[in-house]
Subunit: 384 residues, 2 copies
């Protein structure tokens, strides 16, 4: 029966203070709601060129091979792995939360020889151990998550790019949850492939994912013996669609999400107007303010080392005696506010509060703290 | 330099009378511009359930395994092939335009043993020859394009599902360009896997793609020896995300395009309100009106058999002595109207006019005819 579809669309007001998607500012929603043009119109190519420049700015890179995926962060993950790795090649994945697990799974499916370095959520890797394990497995690609949103960890990146370069390995970094909230310098830090998502500190709706490849990554991916397993994510085609391959004409590959690109362009304009440094500073300030408030409530931050905390997503240890699902359901019901539990290996270990981009304001931290205090007061505490 | 991104977004008014994307009605744009909610909120699952029902209606199917891809038609193509075929298995692809070429390429990349039946654009396949070639190659999957938009052909489907069933082969049909414009009955016609796109007769922006699998297809894809090459497009995960796997809880897989789903739901509501039969009838009427006008201009329709013409996308032979690129550029410049040339094998053979869904009105046919007449008058005709 088609009756249900005839009822009007209902989407209630929500404070999206989880790890993303984040609330979308009115001007980005307005951009997304504009009448569309064709995916191959010259004006669309201009918009895509602007997006490319905007991504170069937020990634702090001059890489020509800079595009947005027609998909979420997972599309960027698969694109990075599918294009730079051939079946049988060795890949090293640092796992300290869900994102490394995902990349390992993706690389295994396309036939890579996957090696895992695993820490429990909240753990991190020293440059020395990365080099040691790398020497053993001789990977063509090393993956690291900069913003490990499942644990609330912002992993140090300095020096790792140099190690990878020394050992002829590409350095792939996931900044889905950190980009715009914590400093990253793709070129200076010798990151070979970097990607992020649209729906975190950029505050666009989910559905597009910026990604950039430097010359080392391009050399590897454009000198393959085999074709990537996905036609849709093949960079030989995507680079043409985005005008990055030096060809005079762009040839139809797939139909990009025109409205999603409108929104992404607007979100890049917002952060470019504000300035990256200002955005990083703001996230740090609001996060510090939140930490203080959480500690005043008697809560314990999950990442003890202050400098390793992800400014966009704060993790707290589940308070003794409480059922975390009950706390979160109370906050959703009584405050129309999303906070979330852990993800993947951090499930049952943490509760997560995200204040990203547009949502990154002290007044929102106050609202979140108020809701948490209310939940702690009203949810049943077991005696165990 | 980030200067270009600081300029306001410019997207001019365009009459999208090409093969898609089509113009988006205000109410669908409004749905897409609404504040978002989380991809895992209960209200989002309700919206996804409504979308599932809406797709069942437009596909005329009761299949439980009915979802929307977080991507364009190519995502649905790859999802269909990746999940139902294992490396080394035989796939038969009917090619009479670009879409079959694409599916053959996709199947080859994931290691299938691909057999091609090829006709020039505008050509079609008899059930007898499909059965003969099928007997020879014993494919596990046979692909056919219902709406071959590159040639303007609407391929007959009756009886092919039965042939496939007899030979233990799955029948995969592409209706990206035809769904809503020409009748298709997934269950009655024994189609095992069917997909479409959001941006044609459904009039949503590009970025989502409905797809459905019947029990035969599910049996094959959920009894594989190998995992599909893509984690993102793996139906074991997507079926859970869409609440089709009978599990009590939906587990995070990827972040779906929340706004895109709002728009898709609204577009399904529009067609459900109008009724499928009414939509088919309207497309046929407006197309007939357009044919008459084109013939009055002295133009020749590319598909001679009236019953085989795709009602949503009309192809005309390039008129003698004219440069098709010049005609199209004139129409875009002077009428802000998109018509397009061929695509893939039909490039240089046809010009294409699409009047789909919201755009499918006689007044728009008149505008298109007026623009064409103006272009024929003002574009230089060579003496050759």
């Amino acid at each position: 029966s088609k009756a249900c579809i005839l009822r009007p669309l209902e989407a209630p007001l929500r404070y999206l203070f989880g790890p993303g998607p984040s609330n979308v500012p009115p001007r980005i929603l307005a951009a997304q709601g504009r009448p569309i043009i064709g995916h191959m119109h010259p004006e669309m190519f201009e918009i895509m060129n602007d997006i490319k420049r905007g991504i170069q700015y937020i990634f702090q890179t001059d890489n020509n091979m800079t595009i947005a995926m027609s998909g979420s962060g997972h599309a960027a993950m698969e694109c990075a792995v599918f294009n730079t790795v051939e079946p049988g090649e060795s890949v090293l994945v640092a796992i300290n939360g869900i994102w490394g697990e995902r990349v390992a799974e993706i690389a295994e499916r396309m036939g890579a020889n996957v090696h895992r370095m695993v820490k429990t959520p909240g753990g991190y890797f020293s440059n020395k151990e990365i080099e040691q394990v790398g020497k053993k497995h001789k990977p063509v690609l090393f993956f690291l998550t900069h913003g490990e949103s499942s644990a609330g960890l912002c992993h140090p990146v300095d020096g790792i790019g140099d190690i990878c370069r020394k050992h002829n390995c590409l350095f792939l970094v996931d900044t889905v949850a950190s980009l715009g909230a914590a400093p990253i310098f793709m070129d200076k830090q010798n990151i070979d492939i970097l990607y992020t998502g649209s729906q975190k500190a950029l505050n666009a709706p989910p559905g597009t994912a910026p990604i950039s490849f430097n010359d080392r990554a391009c050399h590897k991916m454009f000198n393959r013996k085999t074709k990537p397993v996905s036609y849709l994510f093949d960079m030989t085609h995507l680079s043409n669609y985005w005008g990055c391959d030096g060809q005079p004409a762009r040839v139809y590959h797939h139909t990009g999400p025109v409205s999603g690109f409108f929104a992404l362009r607007e979100s890049l304009a917002v952060i470019a107007e504000k300035g990256l440094e200002e955005s990083w500073k703001k996230h740090k300030e609001v996060a510090s303010y939140l930490y203080r408030g959480l500690e005043d409530l008697g809560l314990k931050l999950f990442i003890p080392e202050r400098d390793l905390r992800l400014p966009s997503v704060t993790t707290i240890a589940i308070p003794d005696g409480y059922n975390w699902k009950e706390l979160l359901a109370y906050i959703m019901k009584h405050h129309q506010m999303e906070m979330t539990g852990g993800l993947g290996p951090s499930i049952g270990m943490v509760m997560r509060i995200g204040l990203m981009g547009y949502n990154c304001e002290k007044v929102n931290a106050d609202m979140a703290l108020h809701a948490l205090a209310d939940a702690l007061k009203n949810c049943k505490k077991s005696k165990a």
